[in-house]
Amino acid sequence: MLGQIKLVFFFLLLSGAAGGLWYVQHLKAENEILTLNNEKLNGAVEQQQQLIEQQLRDIEAKTDINKILTENNAKLTADLNLANEKFNKVNASGERRDVGNLALSKPKSIERIERKREQQRARCFEIAQGSPLTEEELNATKKSQINAECTNIANPNYIPY
């Protein structure tokens, strides 16, 4: 009888130990999976942080570009207003210039001026889009040297007189 009880206890202890061993192994396996998942999550978090930092840098760059474009737009608007004033200029005797009539009298001269202005306008767009100023543009201080279409952005050293 005592032997049978010992045998039952032995099997109970054995099955308990086996169960415990299985449980520990199971926990280890789960722990490994969780560790791997945690590493993946950490990697994803790092990627997200890099992405957020990149987006912040992009926003900052876009803000800077937008600021430059806004400034250039304001300058171009000022130049456009100035160009309109120049086109309909009134001379010292109070006579308003009529470019249409001048074009009828001197078509080649007006065409030549317009062609030059067209080239200057194209250059204005280049500058507005970020093209650096040339030495000639930077050194222009006389009216005959300036870009008449966008003096504010093309010739920063020119002072109107």
């Binding site: 200029k89 001379n91 010292a92 001197k106 009216k143 007189y161």
Partner: protein, 76 residues
């Protein structure tokens, strides 16, 4: 002829302007390319002459203007 040109220039740019033969039409008198064409047309009307456009393309100073006008005022 010279007086007429100076008169046109003073009428265009202002009587207070110091205009002499070395005056630059743009840099000294503040004109632009359209002003130069306008002045040439006015001078032509005043002196009843006709100046070929090609001769006025690079005209920048009063002396150049006087020279071009002089060539045609004498012959017309």
């Amino acid at each position: 002829m010279k007086d007429t040109v100076i008169e046109v220039l003073k009428s265009h740019f202002g009587a207070d302007k110091d205009i002499n033969e070395s005056s630059h039409l743009m840099d000294d008198l503040g004109g632009d390319e359209f002003d130069i064409v306008d002045i040439i047309v006015q001078v032509e009307e005043k002196l009843d002459i006709s100046i070929p456009e090609e001769e006025t393309f690079d005209l920048m100073t009063v002396s150049q203007l006087l020279e071009v006008v002089g060539r045609h005022a004498g012959s017309d």
